[in-house]
Structures are given as C-alpha cells and as structure tokens.
C-alpha cells in the first residue's frame, strides 16, 4: 500500500471524526492545504479544534470551515482577516486561544519532537502567561509552554515523491514542515508529484517518515494572493 491517494477525499478517508484536533499549515493564504480543507468541508465533520496561524479569509482557506460552523475552537496567533470569525466569536459560537506566533510554532515543533514542555521569555508579564508555571533561569523569568500534538495535520508542499519526501517553495514553507511532524497522521497535498530520487536528498525539508498520505493538486490548482502589492516600473 503506497502513500499516494487519487484525491483529497480519498486521502482523508477514515481519518476524520467529530471533535478532533487538526493542524493546518500555511500563513495567511500562502502555502495552505486548500484541497484538503475543501475535502474536510465536504465531509461535514464538526466540533473541530484547528491549530493554524491564521483563520483564512471569509471565502478561502479555513474561512470555509468557519462558514459551515464546523470549527469549535481555533488556536492561532492572528485572525484579523476574517469577518466570519469575528461574528461567530462575538456571538459566543467560536472559541479562540491566542498564542504568540513563535510560541505557537515552538509548541508544535515540541509536540513533534517529543518535548512535552519548554520555557520561553515570550509573553512573560502579559496575559498569555496567566495561569502558566514560570521559572527563573540565570536570573531571568520564563514561562512554561506545552507541546501540541494533533490528531491530523494537513499541509501543502511544492514537490513530493511517492515516499512522502517533501520540499516547499519560498515563503509557502512557513508552518507546513513543523506541522507535518506533530500529528498522529499527516496528509500532504503536493503541487508536483515526482518519483523517489528526483529530489536531491540534501534538499528534502520533510523526510517521508512524517507523511502518511499524499495527494497531487490537479492541473489549474489556484493559489490566491491576499495583499497584491506592487511597485511602479522604473522609467528608462
């Protein structure tokens, strides 16, 4: 049984259940696993806890799962781009746990690396440290943060081989490699499917051990731009 599945629905078959915790790669709309998010939407699974830096926008990314009210709780660092989020949150229909972005990334990295807890300076003396143990090391105060391990991670990669070895492109890397390590099952969507040996083993960012299933993005797969900013061309 190989790791490659014919489509996103098949790649998620048997993995989804109500109330589960899903880690989703991506930063804004960059490097998000859109196909897998859409398949989760189609599945109708509910009461999800989603760990993702952002919550998508109203009609894209994780915003799709907010529209359908499949999400019970978000663990994120910034959700400012999503109006649906604001409405559901203010109506008490959605929980949010804000983590500093670096603490979020490190909690996931720790979860994947068998580290149940670590200490950080980030957030000491602020609301995020409330209720958490603190400790002094070399005269400085640090707050203890816990590792996160999810039931499922969904990620997006640029290229992947059938062994599950993955590479990412530019800033679409972001949270994808770290989330790939921190769930009981990781499913990856890849833009370009290649054979083992086609990716230089020195360039592989996510070794295949972390990826249980993968699916190729279909031709014409669309990557959206959230803030299209440009500069004028210099006049000759």
């Amino acid at each position: 049984m190989g790791k490659l599945y014919p489509d996103a629905k098949a790649a998620l078959a048997g993995l989804l259940r109500d109330g589960m915790m899903i880690l989703s790669g991506g930063f804004g709309l960059c490097g998000i696993p859109s196909l897998l998010i859409e398949a989760i939407r189609e599945s109708g699974v509910r009461d999800l806890t989603i760990v993702s830096n952002n919550a998508g926008i109203d009609d894209a990314g994780l915003g799709l799962l907010l529209q359908t009210r499949q999400v019970r709780k978000m663990i994120s660092s910034y959700v400012g781009e999503n109006k649906t989020f604001a409405e559901q949150y203010l109506a008490g229909q959605l929980e949010i746990e804000f983590n500093p972005q670096g603490t979020l990334a490190e909690r996931i990295r720790a979860g994947g690396a068998g580290i149940p807890a670590f200490y950080t300076k980030t957030g000491v003396g602020t609301a995020v440290a409330e209720g958490k143990p603190t400790a002094e090391f070399d005269g400085e105060t640090y707050v203890q943060e816990r590792g996160i391990v999810g039931d499922l991670a969904i990620i997006h990669a640029w290229k992947g081989d059938t062994e599950g070895n993955l590479v990412y492109r530019k800033t679409a890397r972001n949270f994808n490699p770290v989330m790939a390590t921190a769930a009981r099952v990781t499913v990856a969507q890849v833009e370009h499917l290649v054979q083992p040996g086609e990716i230089d083993p020195d360039h592989i960012i996510t070794p295949g051990v972390f990826v249980k299933r993968l699916v190729q993005c279909p031709p014409g797969y669309e990557k959206r731009i959230e803030q299209r900013t440009t500069r004028p061309r210099e006049t000759a």
Binding site: Q101, E106, T122, V124, T171, Q227, R228
Partner: protein
C-alpha cells in the same frame, strides 16, 4: 515642525548598522526600508520565514508563494533564504535579530509595550509581536505621539501588554526617547523634531522624562 511619517522612518533608519539583521513591523516601520544608507548591508527578516526581503514586485510578477508577514507580495534578493516558522522564531527568540522596529498603542516609562489588543474591541491576535519584543536585541517603537489627543507614552500602560520592559527607544513625530529595559525605569529625551518645543513634548507626554546630557 513635527516630523512626517517619512522623516520618522528616516530617523529610525539611523539606528541601523552595517551587517544588521532587522525585522520591520507593519505600517510606518515598513517605510524604514526606504532609508537604508547606500552601501550599508542590512538584511530584513520576515517572521513568516525569510531573510533578505526584496521590494514589492512589478505588476504582473506577483508570486503567491512569496509574501511578507503583512501578507503582501514581495520579491527575493541574491542574499535571500527561506526557513520554516519554527526556525524563524528560533532565530528571533534566540537573539539573532539585531533590531526590531514596530508600532505601539502605548509605551510605559519602564519600557512596557502594548500594541495588540483593546479590550471591548474585536481582538485580532498578537501575531509575532510578543516574540519579537522578547527576543530581538534592540526594540525601537515608531508611533504617533498621541492618539485622539491623548498621550501614548505613559506612566503605566492601561492596555494589555505585548511585553514587559521590552522597549529601548521610542520615535514619534515630536522626538526620540531612550528607555531602560533593566534597572531603574528611566526615560530620556534624546532629540526633538525641528521647531518642536520642550513644552509641547511635555504637554503631550504623560511619562516622566529627563533631557539626555542635561
């Protein structure tokens, strides 16, 4: 005459040094990139996983896989490198970034910073700000001196903190203040914008401050 936003950014750029790795926040801090002195090697870090940020792309050359922490399309440079969010914040938290320039809602005499949340308003999240102020070697706040006529440089922050005792310097349209992250809290006014009077600064500042070299 108070400084314009661009002049504020230019003043902040004087805190740059050759070889610095710098993280610029959204808003006025972004303008600092336009004021890097010619011949000075400064690499910009973007916390979503990039060192060596280039300028915005030409129209038609936007790349959805290449954005900054403000989700804006950007370009790469020959010096650029990419890494994961975990590696990016390991870099930030580990003290490898020399300078962070960011905005603020409030700064207190003791260097406390509030810039992420106004209770009662919809909360968007702190993003990477708490990590940046906790981890970067030098933190410069670039902000308007007042908001709705009220001082932002205060005796104590009234809004939820982003970091406790994390600000080294505050630059506003009126002048430049140096703060102390350790020891006794201390605010020193280092410079004033042209034609701005000490009386004006005092009137618009709640924090106690002294004149540097006074």
């Amino acid at each position: 005459m108070p400084w314009t936003r661009d002049q504020m950014a230019a003043r902040a750029a004087r805190e740059l040094q050759d070889g610095f790795y710098v993280n610029l926040g959204i808003g006025i801090p972004t303008l600092v990139a336009n004021h890097v002195p010619a011949g000075m090697n400064v690499q910009l870090q973007s916390e979503n996983g990039m060192l060596g940020l280039g300028p915005f792309p030409y129209a038609g050359e936007e790349d959805p896989d290449l954005i900054n922490a403000g989700k804006q399309t950007i370009t790469e440079l020959p010096t650029s490198s990419y890494f994961s969010s975990a590696d990016s914040f390991a870099m930030i938290r580990g003290g490898h970034i020399d300078l962070s320039i960011l905005g603020a809602l409030q700064v207190a005499e003791n260097g406390d910073l509030a810039n992420w949340m106004i209770p009662g308003k919809m909360v968007k999240g702190m993003g990477g700000a708490m990590d940046l102020v906790a981890g970067v070697k030098k933190v410069v706040v670039l902000m308007e001196h007042t908001a709705g006529g009220k001082p932002k440089l205060l005796k104590q922050c009234t809004l939820p903190l982003t970091g406790a005792r994390v600000v080294d310097m505050v630059i506003t349209e009126l002048g430049v203040f140096r703060l102390a992250r350790r020891g006794e809290p201390r605010v020193e006014l280092l410079e004033m914008a042209p034609e701005v009077t000490l009386e004006e600064v005092k009137a618009k500042t709640e924090a106690e401050f002294t004149l540097a070299n006074a």
